[in-house]
Structures are given as structure tokens and as C-alpha cells.
């Protein structure tokens, strides 16, 4: 899995502390150096790594450590908390409200997994007996409507789209309008992939957002993205009000750290993770249990299951 190697290296660095008889500043520094280099190798943003390093050090009280009391736990705790902190925007994700339309717009880079995650998201709520539906406002990508249509049909979710209308703003507006009238509760708007280097694509995204007035904008991020992640995520966040993040392709074996940095850049909580191409490969995300799994500490929260 993505990040498995990172988790292993951090855990290893922490273990090496327990075998030491003297824990002095040098030992802590060595451990932090190893952890930092693990984070850097997995593409975590350089600035984030250095602030994590500083913060962990501040958390660890060397004098307490010297007495040998619970050293292992104290160090583990400090690293654990700081990793959580990195993924914690200090903000709750949007909670859809029953009995009224909640418009959720999906945005992200090309090929990040928006269309797939849209369906997974719809199915997740449908299974919890919400009335969900999908709008395909991607008029750019070849076969985009067919893809969404086939997904929606497989999952038995109502959908809206057009083979002839070229204006994504109009489709989004019409689709949302229609589903609101039908009394749907979660109306998901899928959009084309885009990137910050092309201003017109970002304008289009802003126009769609203005037309459908989404209650939440979900930024879909491929977990294998490298160092470019941070800048792209920042640009999306600046262009529209991203409120949640879905991290996809965690079943791959890329390094994953770039995505973690991007999450920090959007200062929005991760709500779900995608772990495969099938609709069921989707889990609700909880920071503490994710980090704990990452470090091989077991699933403390037990909240990972959808």
C-alpha cells in the first residue's frame, strides 16, 4: 500500500530509541533525522517536514525522558500527535442534512479519480438510505458521460448528463435544478479534470460553482502525486472553497507523501480514501486511526470502516 514504506521507516526509527540505554538530545536528534528523511523520501513537502521536526522536539521533554519513565510511549506519542497534526486541518467536514438537497461538487486534477469517487460517494450515502444522484458536467473528456452513466447504472443511481450540450455550466445548473425538484438529498456534480497552469479551466470551475452553489466542494487527490501536489492543491483551494478531500489510489505503491502535504495545503479534512477501482474500495477517513495504522500501531480508533 501507499505509505507502507514510510510507516515502516518511522516505526523503525522510533523502535531504535527503546533499545538505547541513554536517551539524550543526540539520540532524539538522530531519530528525528531518520524520520525526516523517511518523510522526504516519500515526497512530503520540505517545509512541513522541518516544522514537524521542530514540533516533535518541543513536545519531547528531555528531562522526563532521562528518568526512563515510559520513554518509548512518550516519544511515540509525540511523533504520533505531530503526524496527526499534519493531517488535521482543525475543521470538521461538511455534514449533509437530511430532507433537503445537499449539492456536492467534485474537483481535481486530470485522472485523479473524480468520476470513480463520485460514484463511490453516492453509493456510500445511498446505502445509508440517502437519496443520491449524479450530474456529469464533464463535457471535455472523451467518453466522460458514458463513464458516469455506466457507473451510475451499475450502482443504480439516478444520473443526468448530455451527449450534445457542450456547456458544462448549463448541464450542471440544469441537472441540479432537476434533481432538486425531484427531492433528491445528495446531488453530486462531477467536473472535468483541470490544472492551475490553465487559467480558463479554473474559470470554468468557478462558473460551475457559481451556478450550482455547492454546499461542499470535494477535492479529489491522487495519493501517488509527488512534489507538485502542494502547489496544485493550494491553487484549487484559492480558486474555489474546497471543504473536503478524498485521497484516491491508496492501493498503489507510490510514495504518498505529496498527497499528505497537499492536504495540509487545502486545510480541509480528508473524508474518504479510495483503495481500488471497485465501488466498495472506499473507506471513511479518520486521522488518528489512519496515522496509527501507518505506524503499525493497530487501528486504535476502530473507525476506519465505512
Amino acid at each position: 500500500m501507499v505509505l507502507a514504506e514510510l510507516g515502516g521507516r518511522i516505526a523503525q526509527a522510533m523502535r531504535s530509541m527503546t533499545s538505547k540505554t541513554v536517551i539524550d538530545e543526540e539520540a532524539v536528534d538522530n531519530m528525528l533525522k531518520e524520520i525526516s528523511s523517511a518523510l522526504l523520501s516519500s515526497d512530503v513537502n520540505v517545509k512541513l517536514v522541518s516544522s514537524l521536526r521542530k514540533n516533535v522536539k518541543n513536545r519531547i521533554n528531555l528531562e522526563d525522558l532521562a528518568t526512563g519513565l515510559n520513554r518509548r510511549r512518550m516519544i511515540q506519542q509525540a511523533v504520533f500527535e505531530e503526524l496527526c497534526e499534519m493531517l488535521n486541518p482543525g475543521k470538521k467536514p461538511y455534514q449533509p442534512k437530511k430532507g433537503k438537497p445537499n449539492v456536492i461538487m467534485f474537483v481535481g486534477l486530470q485522472g485523479s479519480g473524480k468520476t470513480t469517487s463520485c460514484t463511490k460517494y453516492a453509493l456510500h450515502y445511498q446505502r445509508k438510505s440517502w437519496k443520491t444522484c449524479l450530474v456529469c458536467s464533464d463535457t471535455f473528456r472523451a467518453g466522460a458521460f458514458d463513464q458516469l452513466k455506466q457507473n451510475a447504472t451499475k450502482a443504480r443511481i439516478p444520473f443526468y448528463g448530455s451527449y450534445t450540450e457542450r456547456d458544462p455550466v448549463k448541464i450542471a445548473r440544469d441537472g441540479v435544478e432537476m434533481f432538486k425538484k425531484e427531492g433528491q438529498e445528495i446531488i453530486i456534480v462531477d467536473t472535468s479534470g483541470r490544472h492551475k497552469q490553465e487559467a480558463s479551466l479554473f474559470e470554468e470551475m468557478q462558473q460551475i460553482a457559481a451556478a450550482v452553489e455547492p454546499d461542499d466542494i470535494v477535492f479529489v487527490l491522487d495519493s501517488s502525486i509527488g512534489q507538485a501536489a502542494h502547489d496544485q492543491a493550494t491553487a484549487f483551494k484559492e480558486a474555489v472553497s474546497v471543504g473536503s478531500v478524498i485521497m484516491t489510489k491508496l492501493d498503489g505503491h507510490a510514495k504518498g507523501g505529496g498527497a499528505l502535504s497537499a492536504v495540509a495545503a487545502t486545510s480541509s479534512p480528508i473524508v474518504f480514501i479510495g483503495t481500488g477501482e471497485h465501488f466498495d474500495d472506499f473507506e471513511t477517513f479518520e486521522v488518528r486511526s489512519f496515522v496509527s495504522r501507518l505506524l503499525g500501531l493497530g487501528d486504535v480508533g476502530g473507525l476506519m470502516n465505512a
Partner: protein, 258 residues
């Protein structure tokens, strides 16, 4: 600095070590002279990595296949969403402009809309698609497509495949089967420029995609050739058919050392 631009850490370390080695024992005086010597050595190191050992001239290879009276077969492989199908259609556009007769083979029989995606591109490019719908064995569709191409005077067959993660054993086995059965001329691995991933298997050439989305974080070009030893043949720089370029090693080095 290289790492921030997406050169893999291990690769950057090796590169620095080799630069240091080369400089050891050399007499240079003054900060600026040292700086320049390091920079030149670094440039040389990067250029060495980026310049392919043997050149890969696709058009010439197509000619060879033509003389043997068989179609030239290219299989596009890569992880999910890197840009296989889009790049395939860009390559198709380019081959068509070279007056070659191209057939597309829709062998992604898994992802929703994959067949329609290819058909849409084919219609715009005015080339035929060989397809058998979904949930069929991709390897045998590819085989049939190549046979069909041979019988109908096509010069090139471009085979689209489903995206797959390298550690997904069943899917990788299915891909090996497709490649082994069809013995294509070129297996083109698609790599996203933004990504820092491990080496792919069984490939002959790399194509980097989404080069337009990464600013100066072009390090993947270096890491990728470094790890696989395979040349970067082409670079995708946008979402239209003409957004296809040859890798410009000099430019990459300039961006990396800026």
C-alpha cells in the same frame, strides 16, 4: 533542491555522490570557481542520465515492419489515470500525419466508458477502432485486432489497456499475457511527470504525461530513466492531439538547476 523538484531522493543522492567523486582532487580556487565546477559536473551527470543509450526511431521501426508485411504494434500500459488513452490518441494523430494507416484496439475492457472514450477519439481522428465491448479477455481482443490489421493493410496498431497498479498481481498477470501473446514491437509505459514512482516492468520506452501541470518539478524525468534504464521517448504537454513533444534534455537540466 533536486528533491523538491521531484527527483527521487536515492537518485539525487547518487548523483551528488558521483559529482563529488568527479570533483575530488581537482584544484579550484575561489567560491565562484567551485560553484561553477559543481554546476558543470551536475549538468553533465544529469545529461548523461537523460540521454538515451540507443536511439529509438519509431518511424524507422514502422518501415521495418512494413517491409516484413506486418503491422507495427504498440501497447500502452500504466497505472490508473496517467493518460494512456489520451496519449495513444495523440500518437495516433502524429502517425496519421505521417501518412500511416492506424488501427486502435480497445483492450481496456474494464473501466466504465473506456471503449466509448476510444471510439470518440477514433471518430475525431478518422481511424477505425477494433472493439469487443466490456468484460472480455483483453489479450485475445488484442490478438484479433493485430490479425485484423494484418489482413487489412494497417501499418500500426495502438493497443489501449486498462490502468493497473504494479503490485496488483492478477492484473499484472493479465497484462503479461497480453504482451506475451502479441509480442508487440513497443511497450510504451506511461508515467505521470508529477509522480515519483517505482520502476515498471516489461517496458521498452517511457512516455511522460501531464508535463504541463508541474511547473519546474521535472525531476521525474530524471528518476524515471535512472531507475528503469529506459529512454523517455515522448512527453505529453496538454489535453489536445498536438500536445506531444520529444523530451528536451537540455531544458530539463536547465529547469532543475535553476
Amino acid at each position: 533542491m533536486l528533491v523538491e523538484k521531484n527527483v527521487a531522493v536515492e537518485c539525487a543522492e547518487k548523483l551528488c555522490a558521483s559529482v563529488a567523486n568527479g570533483l575530488e582532487g581537482k584544484q579550484v580556487s575561489g567560491y565562484n570557481a567551485v560553484k561553477n565546477a559543481v554546476k558543470t559536473a551536475m549538468e553533465d551527470g544529469l545529461m548523461r542520465i537523460l540521454t538515451p543509450k540507443q536511439s529509438m526511431d519509431i518511424l524507422r521501426q514502422v518501415k521495418v515492419a512494413q517491409n516484413e508485411k506486418r503491422p507495427y504494434v504498440v501497447v500502452f500500459v500504466g497505472v490508473n489515470g496517467v493518460g494512456k488513452s489520451t496519449s495513444l490518441s495523440k500518437v495516433c494523430f502524429w502517425l496519421k500525419s505521417q501518412k500511416l494507416k492506424v488501427l486502435l484496439a480497445a483492450c481496456d475492457t474494464f473501466r466504465s466508458g473506456a471503449v466509448e472514450q476510444l471510439k470518440t477519439h477514433a471518430a475525431r481522428l478518422e481511424v477505425p477502432v477494433f472493439e469487443k465491448g466490456y468484460n472480455k479477455d483483453a489479450a485475445s481482443i488484442a490478438m484479433d485486432a493485430v490479425k485484423y490489421a494484418g489482413q487489412n493493410g494497417f501499418d500500426v496498431v495502438l493497443v489501449d489497456t486498462a490502468g493497473r497498479m504494479q503490485d496488483n498481481e492478477p492484473l499484472m498477470r493479465a497484462l503479461s499475457k497480453l504482451v506475451n501473446l502479441n509480442n508487440p514491437d513497443l511497450v510504451q509505459a506511461l508515467k505521470e511527470t508529477a509522480y515519483g514512482q517505482g520502476p515498471p516492468r516489461l517496458i521498452d520506452g517511457i512516455m511522460l504525461t501531464k508535463f504541463d501541470t508541474i511547473d519546474d518539478k521535472v525531476g521525474a524525468a530524471v528518476s524515471m530513466t535512472y531507475v528503469t534504464g529506459q529512454p523517455v521517448l515522448l512527453v505529453g504537454v496538454g489535453q489536445t492531439y498536438t500536445d506531444l513533444k520529444k523530451l528536451n534534455a537540455k531544458n530539463i537540466v536547465k529547469l532543475l538547476l535553476r
